[in-house]
C-alpha cells in the first residue's frame, strides 16, 4: 500500500505515457458508444428481426435460439444457421431443435413491416425464414421476441431518461440562474423550494407524483407523462448547482473587471457566466440521465409507466416478478442487464467531464 506522494521509485501511475491521453480515450469511447446505442435503438425497426407486437403463439417462453455452425450430422457450414424448434413431448416448457428444418441466417432479409419516422420498409438487418425463428434473447409469455422488444424498449427508456434530464436541466438552469443572478429574496425562495424537492426520497416522490395523475392512459401519453413527472421531481439538484456556479461567478473579480470596462449584463452572461454554467450543466446531465433512465425503468416495472403493448425495459422486467418465470426462464432477466453498458458509458462520461472541470477551475 503506497501513499500517493511517497517513494516515487515504484510509482507507476505517472509513467503511463500521457495521463491525459487515457482520459481523452475514455471520453471518445463513451461518446461513440452512446451515439451507437442510441442510433441502433432509433432504428430498432431495422435492427430487430421482428416487430414488438409480433407474437408466435407456438413458442411462448422459448429459450434463446442457438446459432450453429455445425449441423446435427457434424458438418461444418460457413454460414450460421438455426433450427426450427417445436414442442415435442407436450411439456409446458422446453423446445427441441428439429434437425430436419435448418434455416440459414440471412442479412438484409424481408420481414415484418415497420416504419421509422414515416419511412416504411420491410428490410431487417438479419432474420431467418419461417417456420424457424431467431429469438436471440428468447420469447416472453406471448411468444414475442425479447431481443426485438429490447431494442424498441430502448427507445422508451433511453429517450425518456434523456428528455426528462434535459427538462430538469433546463428548469434547473432557469431557476438556478435567476436565483444566482439576482440573489436576495428570489434566491432564498428558490433554494428553499429546491430543498423541499430534494428532501423527499427520490423514488417515493416519483411514484407519489405519478399517483396524482390518471392511471389508465395510452402508452404515448404515459411516455410523455413519465418524462414530465421525472423532470419535475428532479429539478432540485441541478438548480442548486447552477445557482452555486452563477453566484460564485458573479462575484468573481474578472466579472467585476468586465463591468468596469463597461460590459452590459448580456455580455457578461454570454461571455463569462454561460460558458461556466454550461460546462457544469453538461456534467450534471451525464449524471442525471442514467438516474432518469433508471427512474423510467422502475416506474414501468411497477406498472406506473409505459404499458402494454409497447415495451419498455421496465415493463419487460415486470414479468420476471412471477416466481415461475423467474426460476425457469432466465432470459426474462436480460432486460435488466440492458442498462448496464449504457450506465457505464454515462458514468465514464461524467467522470472525465468532472475531472476536466476540476483541473480547469
Amino acid at each position: 500500500m503506497k501513499l500517493p506522494f511517497a517513494d516515487r521509485s515504484a510509482d507507476r501511475s505517472h509513467k503511463k505515457a500521457g495521463v491525459r491521453g487515457s482520459a481523452r480515450f475514455k471520453l471518445t469511447w463513451a461518446i461513440w458508444f452512446l451515439v451507437a446505442i442510441h442510433a441502433v435503438v432509433v432504428l430498432a425497426g431495422f435492427f430487430a428481426p421482428y416487430n414488438y407486437e409480433t407474437q408466435d403463439r407456438e413458442h411462448p417462453y422459448a429459450a434463446p435460439t442457438k446459432i450453429h455452425f455445425v449441423d446435427c450430422a457434424g458438418k461444418f457450414h460457413l454460414r450460421p444457421f438455426v433450427y426450427a424448434t417445436r414442442n415435442d413431448d407436450g411439456s409446458v416448457i422446453g423446445y427441441n431443435e428439429d434437425c430436419s428444418q435448418p434455416a440459414k441466417v440471412g442479412i438484409f432479409v424481408h420481414g415484418d413491416e415497420y416504419s421509422i419516422v414515416g419511412v416504411h420498409s420491410t428490410r431487417h438487418l438479419f432474420g431467418v425464414q419461417s417456420p424457424a425463428s431467431i429469438f436471440l434473447m428468447g420469447t416472453d409469455g406471448f411468444g414475442r421476441d425479447q431481443f426485438s422488444r429490447l431494442l424498441y424498449g430502448g427507445q422508451v427508456s433511453l429517450f425518456a431518461g434523456f428528455v426528462a434530464a434535459s427538462f430538469s436541466a433546463l428548469v434547473g438552469l432557469l431557476l438556478g440562474g435567476i436565483a444566482g443572478m439576482y440573489g436576495g429574496r428570489v434566491d432564498d425562495i428558490a433554494m428553499r423550494l429546491a430543498e423541499i424537492f430534494i428532501t423527499v426520497p427520490w423514488f417515493y416522490f416519483l411514484i407519489a407524483v405519478r399517483a396524482f395523475l390518471p392511471l389508465q392512459i395510452s402508452p404515448v401519453v404515459a411516455f410523455l407523462l413519465v418524462i414530465a413527472v421525472i423532470g419535475v421531481v428532479g429539478w432540485g439538484r441541478p438548480a442548486r448547482l447552477v445557482r452555486g456556479v452563477v453566484l460564485s461567478a458573479r462575484e468573481r473579480n474578472f466579472v467585476l473587471a468586465a463591468r468596469g470596462f463597461g460590459a452590459s449584463n448580456s455580455y457578461l452572461l454570454r461571455r463569462h457566466l454561460m460558458p461556466l454554467t454550461f460546462r457544469v450543466m453538461l456534467t450534471q446531465m451525464a449524471v442525471l440521465i442514467p438516474q432518469f433512465i433508471l427512474a423510467e425503468v422502475i416506474l414501468s416495472f411497477l406498472g406506473l409507466g409505459v404499458g402494454e403493448p409497447f415495451p419498455s425495459w421496465g415493463n419487460m422486467l415486470a414479468r420476471a416478478q412471477q416466481y415461475n418465470v423467474l426460476v425457469s426462464y432466465w432470459w426474462m432477466l436480460l432486460p435488466g442487464l440492458a442498462p448496464v453498458p449504457v450506465f457505464l458509458a454515462y458514468h465514464s462520461l461524467a467522470e472525465t467531464l468532472q475531472e476536466r472541470i476540476k483541473s480547469n477551475i
Binding site: 511517497a6 521509485s9 467585476l256 473587471a257 463597461g262
Partner: protein, 543 residues
C-alpha cells in the same frame, strides 16, 4: 560561528547532496526542472543558508532532501547521502525513522501543516511517540517542555486546542515545536519565521542558536531574507532556477559582483535604486479626482431575525488627487479603504456624497481601472492572455479584431511579458506575471486613474521592486494617476508621494511617508508599530 560540539569533527560529512536533479510534471504536461545538479555538503552541527528568489527551487530542495516529492515529481539524477547512507536506497521504514526523528522539516506554510481536525497536543505527541518508546506521561512532559521552549506560556491550553483556534504565528510555532520535539540532528527550515512578529522571531532565533551550540543541531535554513542568516549560517548557497549559482560565507557573497546575488542579499537596496518618485514639474495642479463627503453603510441581516447589523464603512470621506500623482491609502482591515476603492471604481454605490473625475460626476467607468489583489481570480481562467487583454477593447468595440490583437501584443511587451505567450492560459503564468496581465488589461482601457487594491501584497521584496519599477515606467509613459491601497508601510514609503490614513471609515491623516513615524494620530502610530514588528532585522534600509 563554527560549531563547537565535541565528538564531531568539522569535516565529517553529515549530509551530502551530489548533483541532485529533480523534475516534475506540471498540470499541462510540461516538464519543470525544479532542481539541477545541486551540490550541498553539511557537517554535523553546521548550518547552511539557502537564498534565492521565488521559483529558484529552494522549497523543492527542502522536500527532495527527505524524498518527499510531490505526486508528479521524481529524482532524475544525483543522490542524497545521510551519514554515509544513500537515502534513495533505504526501505520505506528506514526512511520513516529518519524523517522526523533525525532529519526534521519545517515546511513553508505553517497554517497548512497542521491537521485541522486533530488537537495540537495529539499531533505533537504523535511525532514523539513514533520515534521513541516513552510512556504516555513522559510524552506529555516533553510536549509541554517543547511548547514552552517555543514561547507558549500556557501549554495546557495549546495542547487541547485545535489549529483554527490559534493565530498564524502561533501555528507556526507549533509546527516548529513538532519539528524539534524528537531532538533531530538536522533541521531543514523553509521560511520558518515569515509569519512571526519581531519579538518571537528573535526568541526562536535564539532558541535555534542555542540548539546549534549545545546540541550540535545542523541546519539548512531556507529564506529570502539574508539578514537572518548573518547570525545563523556558516555558509550560504544562492539558488537560481533550480541550480546553485554561488556559495560562500555571507562576507564573501557581499562582495560578489554577481547582480543576482546582490539582488537577493539586499532586496531593499534594490528598491531604493529604483527611480525614486519625485514630484515632477509635470504633475498637474488640477485635481484629477475629487471625492466629497462619501458615505456608505452596509446592512446585514440574519435570516429569520429582526436584528440588523449596520456597519458604517465610509463616513464623510473627502479628498483630492492630483493628476499624475501616486497616493497610498493605508489602514487596518475594516477601516474602509477597500470600500473606498470600490466606490471610486464604480463597483459599489455610495449612500451619499460625490465622486468627480476631471470635474465630472458622470464619468466613464473605463477611466478608472482597478487591479485586484489576487490575480488568479481577477482573470477568467478559461480566457487566453490575448482574450484577457483585448477584452476592454472588445467591449468598447474598438477598431477591428486585427487592430486589437496588434495592440494586445504591444501591451504585453510593455508590461514585460513575452508576446509569444499570448495564447496561454492564466494558470500557466506565475503570480507576478498574472498581475502584469491584469495591468496590461487595465491599460487597454486607457484609464486615467489606476487603483491598486493590495495588488502586490504577498509578493516577496525583489518581486515587489520589479513591479514598482514597472508601474513607474508606465506612469511616466501614460500619464497615469495611482491610488494604492495597502497595509504594507515599507513598500508604500518607497513608492508613494503621499499617504492617506483611514480608520473606522474616516480619513484621519494625510501626509508624506517620511512623516509617518512621527505622527501624532493614534491610528497611524498603531500601523507604524505593527509594521515595525514585521520588519525583518538585519538589513536596514538606508535612506
Amino acid at each position: 560561528m563554527t560549531s563547537g560540539n565535541p565528538g564531531f569533527s568539522k569535516s565529517e560529512e553529515f549530509l551530502r547532496v551530489s548533483s541532485l536533479s529533480m523534475d516534475y510534471h506540471a498540470a499541462n504536461g510540461d516538464v519543470i526542472h525544479a532542481l539541477h545538479n545541486v551540490d550541498l555538503k553539511i557537517g554535523a552541527g553546521e548550518s547552511v543558508g539557502v537564498l534565492g528568489e521565488s521559483g529558484s527551487g529552494k522549497s523543492s530542495l527542502a522536500q527532495t532532501l527527505l524524498h518527499l516529492l510531490p505526486g508528479n515529481g521524481q529524482i532524475v539524477s544525483g543522490r542524497v547521502d545521510y551519514q554515509g547512507r544513500n537515502l534513495a536506497k533505504l526501505t520505506a521504514q528506514q526512511l520513516r525513522k529518519i524523517r522526523g526523528g533525525e532529519i526534521a522539516l519545517i515546511s513553508q506554510e505553517p497554517a497548512l501543516a497542521l491537521n485541522p481536525v486533530l488537537s495540537l497536543g495529539r499531533q505533537l505527541a504523535d511525532v514523539l511517540k513514533t520515534h521513541s518508546n516513552l510512556s504516555h506521561d513522559e510524552v506529555l512532559l516533553r510536549c509541554g517542555k517543547i511548547l514552552r521552549d517555543v514561547g507558549f506560556p500556557d501549554t495546557e491550553r495549546v495542547m487541547r486546542a485545535y489549529p483554527h483556534e490559534l493565530s498564524g504565528g502561533q501555528r507556526q510555532r507549533v509546527a516548529i515545536a513538532q519539528a524539534l520535539i524528537c531532538g533531530p540532528k538536522l533541521l531543514i527550515a523553509d521560511e520558518p519565521l515569515s509569519a512571526l512578529d519581531t519579538a518571537t522571531q528573535a526568541d526562536i532565533l535564539e532558541l535555534l542558536q542555542n540548539l546549534k551550540r549545545e546540541l550540535g543541531l545542523a541546519m539548512i535554513f531556507i529564506t529570502h531574507n539574508a539578514g537572518m542568516l548573518s547570525t545563523l549560517a556558516d555558509e550560504i548557497l544562492v539558488m537560481r532556477n533550480g541550480a546553485v549559482t554561488a556559495h560562500g560565507s555571507l562576507n564573501e557573497l557581499q562582495d560578489s559582483a554577481d547582480e543576482y546575488v546582490q539582488r537577493v542579499l539586499f532586496p531593499e537596496k534594490n528598491l531604493l535604486s529604483a527611480p525614486h518618485k519625485t514630484s515632477t514639474a509635470a504633475a498637474d495642479e488640477k485635481s484629477l479626482l475629487q471625492v466629497r463627503n462619501l458615505s456608505k453603510r452596509f446592512v446585514q441581516r440574519r435570516m429569520l431575525s429582526r436584528k440588523k447589523f449596520a456597519v458604517q464603512s465610509l463616513e464623510e470621506v473627502s479628498f483630492n488627487l492630483k493628476k499624475g500623482s501616486t497616493v497610498a491609502v493605508i489602514g487596518r482591515s475594516g477601516s474602509g479603504k477597500s470600500t473606498l476603492a470600490r466606490c471610486i471604481a464604480g463597483f459599489e454605490m455610495p449612500d451619499s456624497g460625490k465622486i468627480l473625475l476631471e470635474g465630472q460626476q458622470e464619468y466613464r467607468q473605463r477611466d478608472v481601472q482597478m487591479i485586484f489583489q489576487d490575480a488568479a481570480t481577477s482573470l477568467n481562467p478559461r480566457f487566453t492572455a490575448r482574450q484577457i487583454i483585448a477584452e476592454p477593447m472588445e467591449i468598447a468595440r474598438w477598431k477591428t479584431e486585427v487592430d486589437r490583437t496588434a495592440r494586445t501584443l504591444e501591451l504585453m511587451e510593455e508590461v514585460g511579458l513575452d508576446a509569444a505567450w499570448a495564447l496561454r492560459l492564466p494558470v500557466e503564468f506565475s503570480g507576478g506575471q498574472r498581475q502584469r496581465l491584469a495591468l496590461a488589461r487595465a491599460l487597454a482601457a486607457e484609464p486615467k486613474l489606476l487603483i491598486l487594491d493590495e495588488a502586490f501584497s504577498g509578493f516577496d521584496l525583489p518581486l515587489q521592486a520589479q513591479m514598482m519599477r514597472l508601474l513607474m515606467e508606465l506612469q511616466s509613459r501614460h500619464g497615469l494617476t495611482y491610488l494604492y491601497i495597502s497595509h504594507d508601510l515599507n513598500f508604500i514609503s518607497l513608492f508613494a508621494e503621499e499617504v492617506i490614513v483611514m480608520d473606522a471609515g474616516r480619513i484621519v491623516e494625510r501626509t508624506v511617508p517620511a512623516n509617518l513615524a512621527h505622527s501624532a494620530v493614534p491610528a497611524t502610530c498603531e500601523l507604524v508599530e505593527a509594521s515595525e514588528k514585521l520588519h525583518v532585522p538585519g538589513v536596514e534600509a538606508t535612506v
